[in-house]
């Protein structure tokens, strides 16, 4: 019998093991670890949202829904997106409800790419971008963003990577893992490039509610979606979901907003692979959009306070860290300690029982930094930061 390894498809074999997975295994099984390594809120979904999911089950709503998702949900999404992003999408033809943004991204890649087509994305980035493109036989073309630029994506760097094979530009602002926010002027230049070269922009805006404005980050910052820029709605696939702002990661619910023909193509795959997103999650999401704004803002302010603590502590311990405008991550620069980000994270874990994620897990451009998630209870965060201070004090 052939070894099973030889039966795995080539393009799957070529995908490297996730750096996150390696690190996860090291952390798991250790006691007393405070983890700043998570990529999700520490809050449970607000009770009124959980209660709506329970009520949906009580009513016996356990069936499939339309492939596109419940119309009532798509209508709520349409209204919400218009309020949030200032772009209007037709609930019947331009919105697809998916199992998280991850599924939506997979659908985009599979629906839009022919083998060898290139997708430009920015690093460091969420770990699934590169594999999602590769699994759709596309070619992922990374643009490195730099700590010196506060991880802003420079349009000139994007322009340099455009070839006649480029089909899409994939954006994620605010960014996981850096917390970076794209300034409007660069966003406009990227939009101009997309128009000039007739490219589609895929914009993952999952963290768009979590923006820290004003002097101390306590005010909600303003988000500009590239879809709202002139001439961009017709060439943008906007991805959003409920995981981060509404603390609903386990509900697995996201959506895409895109021109009808593109939505149809994505739906074709979705109907055969997923059929539809779970109905109780969809019902919970209707409630989230209807009545969740207050809770979202409350959580955002809690993150803002923690962000202030984190930045203040890093400054005190002499760890350079730019002030991240969004999401719930900080991406401190640890190069001055002379360790690789992996060594830094490993030793911090072994010596002080604090988990942060090595920056290179998010692409080579993340080397020299670590990702510290501040979606962790305040008192835990305080202890973790004391431990980090002890650790860097010894380096």
């Amino acid at each position: 019998m052939k070894p099973h390894e030889d039966r795995i498809a080539d393009h799957v074999k070529q995908i490297p093991r996730s750096g996150i997975r390696d690190f996860f295994e090291l952390v798991q099984g250790r006691d007393d670890v405070i983890s700043l390594g998570v990529g999700e809120p520490d809050f449970a979904a607000p009770w009124h949202i959980r209660e709506a999911a329970i009520f949906s089950l009580e009513k016996g709503q356990t069936s499939y829904t339309s492939n596109l998702g419940l119309l009532s949900l798509r209508e709520s999404i349409s209204e919400y997106v218009e309020g949030q992003f200032d772009v209007r999408y037709d609930a019947k033809t331009e919105i697809l409800v998916t199992v998280g943004v991850s599924e939506a991204l997979d659908l985009v890649c599979r629906a839009m790419l022919n083998p060898g087509d290139e997708v430009i994305y920015h690093e460091p980035c969420y770990v699934s971008y590169n594999p999602s493109i590769a699994l759709a036989y596309g070619v992922a073309v990374g643009v490195q963003t730099k700590v010196e630029d506060e991880f802003v994506l420079k349009a000139v760097d994007v322009a340099a990577k455009i070839t006649d094979k480029t089909r899409m530009i994939l954006l994620n602002f605010p960014t996981n893992p850096t917390g970076a926010v794209e300034p409007l002027e660069e966003l406009e230049k990227i939009a101009a490039l997309a128009i000039e070269h007739d490219l589609i922009v895929v914009s993952d805006e999952i963290y768009s509610e979590l923006l820290y404005g004003g002097e101390s980050g306590m005010e909600r910052g303003e988000h500009v979606s590239i879809a709202s820029l002139p001439g961009m709605k017709e060439r943008t696939i906007l991805l959003h979901g409920f995981s981060k702002a509404f603390a609903m990661t386990g509900f697995r619910l996201g959506y895409s907003c895109a021109p009808h023909a593109l939505t149809e193509a994505m739906m074709k795959i979705h109907q055969y692979s997923m059929l539809c997103a779970p109905i109780m999650s969809q019902n919970a999401a209707v409630e989230a959009l209807k009545n969740g704004a207050g809770e979202v803002e409350k959580m955002r302010r809690a993150y803002a306070r923690r962000r202030n603590l984190l930045l203040n502590s890093f400054e005190k311990m002499g760890v350079p860290c730019f002030s991240p405008g969004g999401a719930f991550y900080a991406f401190p620069d640890i190069r001055k300690f002379g360790l690789s980000s992996k060594e830094f994270a490993l030793r911090l874990l072994e010596e002080e029982n604090v988990a942060v994620v090595p920056g290179d897990a998010f692409g080579a451009a993340g080397e020299g930094c670590v990702r510290a998630c501040y979606a962790t209870a305040f008192d835990q965060l305080e202890i973790a930061l004391e431990r980090i201070a002890n650790f860097v004090g010894r380096l």
């Binding site: 690190f23 952390v27 798991q28 670890v33 390594g37 998570v38 770990v127 699934s128 101390s216 923690r306």
Partner: protein
């Protein structure tokens, strides 16, 4: 100011330095904001939220619905303020709906509360009727759930 109130409402024991870090302000700014909130009476006081079931204290608490005859000048205010001054009254609110005042009363035992209602409250001129509801169990008070433990069940490292 609102951000500071939000913090204090949840935990009034934070030090000025703690609050300054959380809100990204200087300790001096926090001090002056807090002083202003206190002097203008926005902050009435600070207290601990205690789950009495966890103490040896057998004190009882009752919600009393009170109906009043409004007065020509000042409506309910004079009488409500008079009721609120009793030491046994911990809270007193003017309500819409079927009765006028909601009065929360605490006492060492049932008898003490009953006595307060029959001797002090219901004998006041202007009090038309009272209905006393004794509190049996606390599930949530002042924003805190009793016996609430939320375990962090997230995976330790996720993308």
């Amino acid at each position: 100011m609102d951000a500071l109130l939000e913090l204090l409402e949840k935990n009034a024991r934070l030090t000025t330095a703690d609050m300054a870090v959380r809100l990204g302000k200087s300790p001096e700014e926090i001090e002056s904001m807090a002083a202003e909130l206190e002097s203008q009476g926005t902050i009435l006081g600070y207290h601990a939220v205690i789950d009495r079931d966890k103490t040896d204290d057998d004190r009882v608490s009752a919600l009393i619905e009170v109906k009043l005859t409004p007065e020509r000048d000042g409506g309910f205010d004079r009488l409500a303020k008079r009721i609120a001054k009793f030491g046994q009254v911990t809270s007193c609110y003017l309500m819409s709906g079927g009765y006028d005042l909601a009065v929360i009363v605490e006492g060492n035992d049932l008898k003490e509360v009953a006595q307060f209602v029959s001797e002090k409250l219901s004998t006041l001129d202007g009090v038309v009727s009272t209905a006393t509801h004794f509190q049996l169990k606390v599930y949530k008070q002042s924003g805190f759930l009793a016996a609430d433990t939320h375990e962090d069940e997230r995976l330790p490292v996720t993308p």
